[in-house]
Subunit: 483 residues, 2 copies
C-alpha cells in the first residue's frame, strides 16, 4: 500500500466528482430555488481538496496494485459520500443534521436509495436533482468496481469473472484493464440512461422528472422526486413499463451488455447461466405474487399484475421504487420481496444483494450434497456456463454467504440495541446491507424517525453491502498490513 498512489487516485476522483456539483448549480439558477450558494461552496471545497491531493503527485506513474485496490475500493464510497454530503449539510433547506446529510449522501451514492427526507415534492429542485444524480454517479462506480476491480481482488468468488487466471494475483497490475473496461461500460451506461430518460419524457414525465428518474432507474437506486415514489405515476402504464424495462436491463451483468454492444448480438444473454437463473426466478415470483394479490381481492386483475410485477422487479433488482404501499400488503409478502432483494440480481450490474450467481452456486452445491449422500463416491463438478467452477471459487462464495448472514444478524442485534424494534431493525438492515432502500416497521415510509446511532450502523451496512463485506474485512486483518 503506497500512500502516494492512493492519494493521486482520490485526488483525481475528487476533482472529477467536484464537477458533478456544477449541474445542480445550473438547476438552481434555472429554477431560482436559492440553493446555488451551498452547491458552489461544496464545489470549491471538493475541487480544492482534490487538486491539493492530486497536483503534488500528478506525474506519478505507478500502477495500482491489488493491495492498493482494497484500500481504494473501501475508501471510495466513504470519501465521495462524505464530500457528497456537503451541499446537504450546508443548505438550509432541507434542514438536515450532519448524520442525516451523510446518510442521504451515502445512501444515494451506494444506490441504496433509503431516504431520511419526507416532503420531497416541495424540496428545492436543485436538491432533488442532486439526489438523483448522486445515484447515477454511484451506479457507474458500482459497475466499474464490480467488473474491473472485484474480479481482480477475488472477492466472494468474483474471480469467476476474471478473463484470465494469472498466478499470484497479489500484485497484478490493475490500471490498464480498469481504464479500458471503464470506458466501454461508461458508454453503455450513458446510452441506457439517455434511452430511459427519452422514454419517460415521451410517456409523459416532465423533463426534470424524466432526467431524475432515468438517473435513479439505470442505477437501480430508487430515489424519486416524489414521496409516492413511482406510485406518483401508477396510472401511467407506459411509464411503469419503461421503469420495469430499465430496472431489469440495469440489473443484468454489464459484461453481457458489453458483448452485445461489441458484437451486435442478443443470443448470448440466454446462454448465460446466471441470467437464465435470475430471469426464471423473477418471472416465477412475479406471476405468483400477482396471482396471490388478485386471488386475495387486494386489487383487480390488471392492477394485481401491474403492482405484482413492478414490486418483484423493483425489489428483486434492488432498485427499491414503490408503485404502491407494499409494506401494507398481507404480512408475508413484504418479506418475500425482501428475500428476493437480499438475493439480488446479476453480478456486474447496478443491483445489490448476494447476487444471483452466488445464489445459483449455493443451490448447485446443495443439490450436489444431496446427490453425494445417495451416491457417496460420485464426482459431480459444479458448472457455470458449461465450465467447471474451481473449488477455490465455491469456497469463496461460501465464505461470502456465511459472512453476509452473520453480518446481517449482528447488525440487526446492534440496531435493536440502539432501541429500534425487531421488525424495523431486521428490515432496515436487510434493506441497507443489500442496497435495496425501502424497509418496514417504523421505516416503512422513510428512515427519518430511525434513531441517530442506528443510522450510523445502517450507513455501515450500506458500505459493507457495496464492498461485498470482504473488501472491508481484509483491511482489518494484520496480514494485510504486513510486508
Amino acid at each position: 500500500m503506497r500512500i502516494a498512489v492512493i492519494a493521486r487516485i482520490f485526488g483525481i476522483l475528487l476533482t472529477v466528482f467536484s464537477l458533478t456539483l456544477l449541474p445542480p448549480i445550473g438547476v438552481s439558477l434555472w429554477y431560482h430555488d436559492g440553493t446555488h450558494a451551498p452547491f458552489t461552496v461544496a464545489f470549491i471545497i471538493t475541487l480544492v481538496t482534490g487538486l491539493f491531493m492530486w497536483l503534488p503527485v500528478h506525474d506519478l506513474r505507478q500502477d495500482l496494485r491489488t493491495r492498493d485496490g482494497f484500500v481504494v475500493t473501501s475508501l471510495f464510497w466513504l470519501v465521495l459520500g462524505s464530500f457528497g454530503s456537503l451541499p446537504l449539510i450546508i443548505s438550509p433547506q432541507p434542514d438536515l443534521s450532519i448524520t442525516d446529510s451523510i446518510f442521504e449522501s451515502i445512501s444515494g451514492l451506494t444506490t441504496t436509495g433509503a431516504t431520511v427526507i419526507t416532503g420531497l415534492d416541495t424540496l428545492p429542485p436543485a436538491i432533488l436533482y442532486y439526489r438523483q444524480q448522486l445515484q447515477w454517479v454511484g451506479g457507474i462506480g458500482v459497475i466499474v468496481i464490480a467488473l474491473a476491480i472485484l474480479p481482480m481482488l477475488g472477492i466472494g468468488g468474483m474471480q469467476l469473472y476474471k478473463a484470465e487466471t494469472p498466478g499470484p494475483v497479489k500484485d497484478t497490475k490493475l490500471t490498464p484493464r480498469i481504464a479500458e473496461t471503464a470506458r466501454a461500460l461508461f458508454v453503455i451506461y450513458i446510452t441506457l440512461t439517455v434511452l430511459c430518460g427519452l422514454g419517460y419524457w415521451w410517456a409523459g414525465m416532465t423533463v426534470f422528472d424524466a432526467v431524475g428518474h432515468a438517473f435513479s432507474t439505470v442505477a437501480n437506486g430508487g430515489f424519486s422526486t416524489h414521496d409516492a415514489s413511482m406510485g406518483f405515476y401508477a396510472n401511467n402504464h407506459a411509464i411503469m413499463a419503461i421503469c420495469i424495462l430499465f430496472m431489469f436491463t440495469a440489473a443484468i451483468n454489464f459484461g453481457l451488455h458489453f458483448f452485445a454492444f461489441r458484437y451486435r448480438t442478443l443470443s448470448h444473454y440466454w446462454k448465460d447461466s446466471e441470467f437464465r437463473f435470475w430471469v426464471t426466478l423473477t418471472v416465477t415470483a412475479a406471476l405468483l405474487i400477482s396471482l396471490y394479490l388478485w386471488s386475495q381481492g387486494i386489487f383487480n386483475a390488471g392492477s394485481s399484475f401491474l403492482h405484482g410485477v413492478f414490486q418483484v422487479v423493483s425489489i428483486g433488482t434492488t432498485a427499491g421504487f414503490a408503485s404502491e404501499n407494499f409494506s401494507a400488503w398481507p404480512a408475508f409478502l413484504p418479506y418475500v420481496l425482501l428475500m428476493l432483494g437480499i438475493l439480488g440480481a446479476c453480478a456486474g450490474s447496478t443491483s445489490g444483494g448476494i447476487k444471483a450467481v452466488r445464489g445459483m452456486l449455493i443451490m448447485k452445491s446443495g443439490m450436489r450434497e444431496l446427490n453425494r449422500l445417495v451416491h457417496a463416491n460420485a464426482v459431480v463438478p459444479i458448472k457455470v456456463n458449461a465450465k467447471i467452477v474451481p473449488e477455490r471459487v465455491t469456497d469463496a462464495v461460501w465464505g461470502f454467504f456465511a459472512v453476509y448472514i452473520l453480518s446481517f444478524f449482528v447488525l440487526t442485534i446492534i440496531v435493536m440495541a440502539t432501541g429500534e424494534d425487531f421488525v424495523t431493525s431486521f428490515s432496515t438492515v436487510a434493506s441497507c446491507l443489500s442496497n435495496i432502500g425501502p424497509a418496514l416497521g417504523d421505516a416503512s415510509a422513510h428512515y427519518g424517525s430511525v434513531n441517530e446511532l442506528a443510522k450510523w450502523f445502517l450507513i455501515l451496512a450500506m458500505l459493507m453491502g457495496r464492498l461485498e463485506i470482504f473488501t472491508l474485512l481484509v483491511l482489518l486483518t494484520p496480514a494485510f498490513w504486513r510486508h
Copy 2:
C-alpha cells in the same frame, strides 16, 4: 430399501416404546388422578401394532443398510411421536385437539420442549410425568442417532465423527456398531439422569419434580411441571446450579463422555476443539449478558449473574428452561439468546441447532477466505483436533448451513402466510427448527394461541431440525429411490 427390514425395526421400536406407557399408569394409580385408562388404551394399541409388525418378520436376520438408515431415521420421530400422542388425544384432561396432542408429543420426543398447554401446575400427575418421560426417551434417541447413525449417513459433515472411513458407505453394515455404541451411551445417559435427579431431590425438589426435571434436563428438553418452568425454583440457588451443570453436561458430545467413562480421564475434554470453542463462546456470552443485565439495573448483581448464566446456558444448550420471563428483557437480548440457540451446543449431545463444530468450521473457512485474499496462493488447511478436515466435510457443512438458513426463511414466510405476525413466526420457527422450545411474540408464554395450520409447519420444523434436514431431503430425491 427393504420394507421387511424397516417393518421389523419399527415393530421392535414400537413394542419397546409401548413399555414406556406403563410407568404413567403406575403414576396415575398412585395419585388416583383418573388417567390410567387413556394410558392403558394407548399401551395396548401401541403394543399390538408393534407386535403385529414385528412377529411376522421376527426371525429376519438382514442387516440395516445406509439406504434403510435414511428411512428409519426419518420415520423414527414421526412414528413414535404419533403413537406417543395417543394418551393425550384420548385423555379428557387436558382437553387437547389432535393437532395439539401431536404437537405436544413430537415437541416432547424431539426434545424441543415447546408446549401448547397452560395451567401445568394443575394437570393430572400422570400426564405431567408422561411429558417429562417423553423428553427423556427422545433424548437417548437423539444421542444414538447423532453418534451411531448420522456419521454413517454422512449428513452435514458428520462423517467427521466416523471412526473409520471406508470406501463406498452406501451399503455398509450398520447394525453391529449401532447396537454396541447404543448400549454404552445408554449407561452414561442413565447415570447422568440418576445423578441429576438425586441432586434435585437433595436440593429440595419433591421426588416427583426431581424425577421429571432430571428427565427433561439431561435431554435438554425444557418441559417442566410448572408454568413458571425452572423460575418456580429461582430462589433455590442449589437447584439452579444443578440444572445449569446438567444442561451443560448433556450438551457435550457423548463421545467424550464415553471416552471418560472407559478410560477414567477428564483431560481429553479440553483437547477437543469443538468443546473449547463452545465453552469459550458460552462463558463469554454468559458474562457479557450478566454484566449488561446488571449495568441496566434490571436485576441486582447476584440475580443478574444467576439469570444471565442460566438463560445463556439454557437457550445455548437448546434446553429452553426459563428462570425468568426473559422475553421481556431489553428487546435485543432475547434475539441474542435465540442466536446462541440456533448455533446450538456440541454435536453428539442432546442439544439441537446447527452445532458448535459446524459453526467453528464455518468460522475457520471464513478466516481462511480472508487470508487467501491477502495471500492468494497460500495453502491453509482447516483443522479440527489437529487433524486436517477433508474438503468433502467442509462442503457438507456448507451445504447444511445453506439449507438450514433457507429452510428457516421459507418456514418463517409460510408461518406468516398462515396469519401469524413476523416476530411470532420468526421466533417460533427459529425455536422449533433448532429444538430450543421457548419463543417470542404471541408464543412467548406458550404455543397455545398459534393457529392450527402453523402448528403443523412447526411440527415439520422440529422434525427437520432433529433430522438435520438432509436426512429428510434425501428421501425426496428421485436418485434415492432408483436401484
